[in-house]
């Protein structure tokens, strides 16, 4: 059984930004668990990882929240060692791209520890990666490696798309998850506000129905969930189309039955991911459908992701590189009404407001 995020929340709500939710959960983790510490380049500075750790070094001291030299591989190894003796490390990479310097420790060590030693040891820890986008991040500050990590058993990979997902997941991960967790946070989400409720679901690391609908299923990750919700709103208003938006949330352990149920209902599918399509989330969604319900779709799914190239810096190319709001809406309508759907598309480009305000990278 899966809880849909949108329907069963009865508790009082409040508005909380993504960065705010991160700061709240980091703060609570330090307050509630003496064994938690946060380390990463700049975690104790005035920018505080885009506001997600600001003030915590002052509040909890340099033993709990501390800066490190440039040493991604070494830091990850240090975290593993600390976890093995009962501490709970939280490490940060201000760009997910830098985690490639720590791949050996993440994949060959952290992911293997529990199994390789027959369950006698484990290294629970949280590795926070921030995905860059927009404002000329370019080829080395824009990658979103969820598929890369989720391919490897032993890792739990999540992509919180909302403040709610952070509140639902992080406290449980930190308190009780037995192994290493990679959480991929999207920089463009940090400044967005979300309505949150304190009524957490029973299965925190799984998949959400972000919006119910009967005409087409949109399976989305991270910031593409926000994009998909906006598109869903548009197609409802412009064409009366009801899109069901599924926030995959867990990349390594999604609730595939939830996805399949939705596709069974709608018969139409759009997949919207933050990375490349090849060997990415879109591929795994197709694999699961092929295994579970190969004939559920009335037409080939539409897939939205980064173009098959490194990310260009020029704004004109970057705008083409990422799926725009325009394209997302078009994809949904084309699924339901066919390519010649005739509905007027929104004129603004993808997430215009949020992006305009964004002047990255720090």
């Amino acid at each position: 059984m899966t809880l849909a995020a949108t329907k069963e929340r009865k508790a009082p709500t409040r508005v909380l930004s993504y960065a705010g939710a991160l700061l709240e959960t980091m703060d609570a983790a330090l307050a509630n668990h003496a064994n938690v510490f946060i380390m990463g380049q700049g975690v104790d500075d005035f920018k505080g990882i885009f506001g997600s750790t600001t003030g915590l070094a002052q509040k909890y001291g340099a033993e709990r929240v501390f800066d490190v030299p440039l040493m991604e591989e070494g830091m990850t190894g240090v975290a593993i060692g600390a976890a093995l003796v009962g501490d709970y490390p939280i490490t940060t990479h201000i760009r997910a791209d830098f985690s490639f310097l720590a791949m050996n420790q993440i994949i060959n060590l952290a992911a293997k520890y529990r199994y390789m030693f027959g369950g006698s040891m484990s290294c629970p820890m949280l590795i926070r990666l921030v995905v860059g986008r927009s404002w000329g991040q370019g080829a080395q500050h824009s990658q979103s490696p969820q598929a890369t990590f989720a391919h490897f058993p032993g890792l739990t990979v999540v992509m919180p798309a909302t403040s709610q997902a952070i509140l639902d997941m992080y406290p449980k991960i930190i308190a009780r998850h037995p192994g290493p967790v990679i959480s991929i946070e999207h920089r463009l989400l940090y400044n967005l506000d979300f309505t949150v409720s304190s009524n957490a679901p029973a299965i925190p690391l799984s998949t959400y129905i972000a919006r119910e609908g009967k005409d087409v299923t949109v399976v989305a990750t991270s910031v593409m969930v926000v994009e998909a919700l906006r598109a869903a709103q548009y197609v409802k208003e412009a064409a009366g189309v009801e899109a069901e938006v599924i926030d995959l949330n867990s990349i390594s352990h999604p609730d595939w039955e939830l996805v399949v149920q939705s596709v069974r209902k709608t018969g139409r599918l759009v997949i919207a991911d933050t990375s490349w399509l090849e060997y990415g989330v879109a591929a795994e969604v197709c694999r699961q459908l092929m295994l579970r319900e190969p004939r559920a779709l009335a037409a080939p799914p539409t897939m939205l992701g980064m173009a098959s190239a490194p990310c260009p810096t020029a704004k004109s190319l970057e705008d083409l590189y990422y799926p725009s709001q325009h394209e997302t809406v078009d994809a949904i309508l084309a699924q339901v009404r066919g390519v010649g759907h005739g509905v007027a598309l929104p004129t603004e480009r993808s997430m215009t407001e949020a992006f305009k305000k964004f002047r990255g990278p720090f």
Binding site: G136, G138, L277, L304, A307, A314, S316, A331
Partner: protein
């Protein structure tokens, strides 16, 4: 983009050729410390400063939609080092390389076009400020992953040696870069293989907002010495003549077939990334930067600055105009040059 899977093509070309800038002989030594030399170096240093000041002015207009890491305060390093190099020597640099790009002889108009994300840029706008390059004058790719081009310089130098060439390669990096494991791997290998590589550390004492003493347990020169790498530190990092002098000696050592480390103290006047100052965040002292400025020729030598300014500003305006005119890259560029 990405409504459906874009096909990926494999096209065959010849392996890329090394840039073949003509090997110009260095000017005769007697020019050193002459007025003419000072003026030439000063001019390039000032050009870099004025270019970056123009970037600061332009930034609020959102014409440069990309992170910029300014080298204001550090320009003399690039100028002093590059003046000691031959045109066909190669420099591998970082995201903070407006200075090295210009000092190595990169075209200013293409630089502005690149910052603007226009087709006239050296990389057709695909690179932006963080990845400047001008292989035609030996400024190889700059990378925004700290320390990542250090081994590239070692590899290029190794190949020069293999090829029987007397060209050298230069790795430019910040003090923070030396903390990365690949620095250790690179200098060990360079020493073992005796390759003609010059390591240049721009020591501004900071990695983003972190001071060196909380990041490094070692002194860099002592460290290099253990690997059998000779070194020199220039404390007067504002003085392009001193840096040039030290670089000439270093380059001679390298061209004779041994790696060398040049550590140059310098000062970053502006914030780590972006176009503002950041003293109000109090992670560092304004006084230290002010003391540096008090010795900075571009600040002190007002007469020469003002004498050169009009001409340089005209150059800059022409370059900005070039960028403004240059078209943005279109869809045909999105999927080219991938493999």
């Amino acid at each position: 983009m990405g409504l459906i899977a874009s096909p990926r093509f494999i096209l065959y070309h010849q392996p890329s050729k090394a840039p073949q800038g003509a090997a110009e002989p260095l000017e005769s030594k007697d020019l050193a410390n002459s007025d003419e030399l000072y003026r030439r170096l000063f001019r390039t240093t000032l050009l870099i400063r004025l270019v970056e000041e123009r970037v600061i002015e332009l930034y609020p207009s959102d014409r440069i939609q990309s992170p910029v890491h300014l080298s204001i305060g550090q320009e003399a390093v690039a100028v002093g080092v590059c003046d000691a190099l031959r045109a066909d020597d190669l420099v591998f640099a970082t995201y903070r390389s407006h200075g090295f790009y210009l000092a190595k002889g990169g075209r200013l108009d293409r630089m502005f076009a690149e910052l603007y994300g226009r087709i006239g840029g050296g990389a057709k706008g695909k690179a932006g400020s963080m990845h400047l390059s001008a292989p035609e004058v030996g400024l190889m790719g700059s990378s925004a992953v700290v320390a990542s081009t250090i081994p590239h310089a070692v590899g290029a130098a190794m190949s020069f040696k293999r090829q029987g060439s007397d060209r050298i390669a230069v790795a430019v990096f910040g003090d923070g870069a030396t903390e990365e494991g690949v620095y250790h791997e690179s200098i060990n290998f360079a020493s073992l293989m005796k390759v003609p590589v010059l390591f240049v550390c721009e020591d501004n004492g900071l990695a983003v907002h972190s001071h060196r003493h909380i990041r490094q347990s070692y002194r860099l020169q002592k460290h290099a010495e253990i690997y059998g790498i000779a070194s020199c530190r220039v404390d007067e990092g504002w003085d392009m003549l001193a840096i040039r002098e030290a670089s000439l000696a270093a380059v001679a050592h390298v061209r004779a077939g041994r790696p060398f480390l040049l550590e140059i103290a310098t000062s970053r006047y502006m914030e780590h990334v972006g176009v503002g100052e950041d003293f109000h965040f109090q992670y560092r002292d304004r006084a230290a930067v002010d003391a540096w400025k008090a010795r900075d020729p571009l600040v002190v030598d007002k007469a020469l600055t003002e004498a050169l300014r009009p001409e340089l500003e005209r150059e800059i305006e022409a370059a900005v105009a070039f960028a403004e005119r240059s078209p943005a890259p279109g869809r045909d560029e999105l999927l080219t040059d991938i493999i």
